[in-house]
Amino acid sequence: MRKSRTLNLGTGTFVLLGFAALFFLTTQTTSRGLSFGSKPHYDLTAKFDNVGDLKVGAPVSMSGVEMGRVTKIGFDSKEYKAVVTMRMDERYNQIPTDSDASIYTQGLLGGKFIGLTAGGADTYLKDKDQIDFTQSAFVLENLIGQVLANIAKNPSQSDSAKSAPDTPAAAAPKATEKKQ
């Protein structure tokens, strides 16, 4: 009897430890947290000319506060645009309808995320609504290509003082381009 008691104790402790470890791995080392079931949420979509390497699961934030995540990246074959579906937390349901969505990069080489900037309208976005104002991902290669093309076009000016304001000017429209 004594022996079987210690045996049971040992087995029980081991199994408990094992499952505690599994629980720790799934909840503490991943971003899942303790999200059993789904929190109240609503979906928004936005069309982008270019999403770069935006991934499903990327955060959607406004003023740096995470408000949702990208759940789907599709393609609109009529407009040739990427359709990004975002799942927003129901707590943040007061986003003006004329807000705009841009794709930013976390750090210099980090992953992409969607940043929202609040507009001024007094109606709010609802489930299945679309964000109309978007700004594509900033693609470093395009910018470099543009700068190089610019230098190649006017090689005589490339090292003169005159081209200095020219290069950022050529780059700027691409970076701040806003599609309606």
């Binding site: 081991f14 199994v15 430890l17 094992g18 470890a21 791995l25 503490q28 971003s31 699961g57």
Partner: protein
């Protein structure tokens, strides 16, 4: 020469076939084995609880080495904060299951093989058959199940202790910021990484336990035969573990 090569090829095919048949026989007996849950619990204790100390110690040191080496390497790129991610991914997907399985084969696999081999050598298995007790059902299946259940739990414990070991070195000694250590880990470790680790450790558990009980059950009934069965258990398990590790990693990519 060619004759010999042919012979050995046929011989290894026969070996593989008998292992697979043995596995099928075990699987067929599993439902009945689960009815005698007390026997299985006893074996979970033998294979799991008794391996706990070696697993936890190894996990701690592997994690600490990972913290040290990872820090050294990441520091060159100025991204020490990624240490948490590197350690967690490395442990959960690769080191946890593989090292646990290797240790498991060494600690629990050899114990199983020598125990069964000795039972064979001392005619205990034949005695059971004489008493109309199926030794596979009574002796082998509980040991197999015990190993299969214990292995994933051991691997999870190994990974968790390892992550704490890496944190111990990285955060406490090398002064990596604790917040970014954990938050970067949480941001980049996905559930699929954890799944990969669990799938790996389950498959390793089946492979290790199967090899151990097979080698023990079919050991030559002599002192030398039992010794050879234990050696073969470790060698075969190690090779099979690393082979399956490659396969599963490739499948998950």
């Amino acid at each position: 020469m060619i004759e010999e090569l042919w012979e050995s090829t046929i011989e290894s095919l026969v070996g593989l076939g008998s292992v697979v048949r043995f596995l099928l026989r075990l699987v067929a007996e599993v439902p009945r084995g689960l009815m005698r849950i007390d026997l299985v619990a006893q074996q979970i204790y033998n294979a799991g609880a008794l391996s706990l100390v070696i697993i936890m110690l190894s996990g701690l040191f592997v994690g600490m080495v990972l913290g040290l080496q990872g820090f050294e390497l990441l520091q060159r790129f100025g991204s020490e904060e990624a240490l948490g991610t590197a350690a967690a991914i490395g442990l959960v997907k690769e080191l946890g299951p593989v090292i646990t399985a290797l240790l498991f084969a060494g600690r629990a696999g050899t114990a199983l093989a020598s125990e069964l081999g000795l039972m064979r050598a001392t005619d205990q298995l034949s005695a059971m058959e004489m008493m109309a007790v199926d030794p596979i059902r009574r002796v082998v299946v509980p040991r197999f199940l015990g190993g299969v259940i214990a292995m994933p739990l051991l691997a999870a414990i190994f990974s968790v202790i390892g992550i704490y070991g890496a944190q111990l070195i990285g955060v406490q000694i090398m002064r990596v910021d604790a917040g970014s250590f954990w938050s970067q880990m949480r941001a980049s470790v996905g559930l699929s990484d954890i799944n990969e680790g669990i799938v790996k450790s389950c498959i390793f558990g089946v492979a290790c336990s199967l090899i151990a009980v097979y080698e023990g059950y079919y050991a030559t009934p002599t002192a030398e035969g039992v010794g050879r069965a234990t050696t073969r258990t470790v060698v075969t398990s190690a090779v099979v573990i690393l082979f399956f590790d490659y396969l599963i990693t490739a499948a998950f990519l």
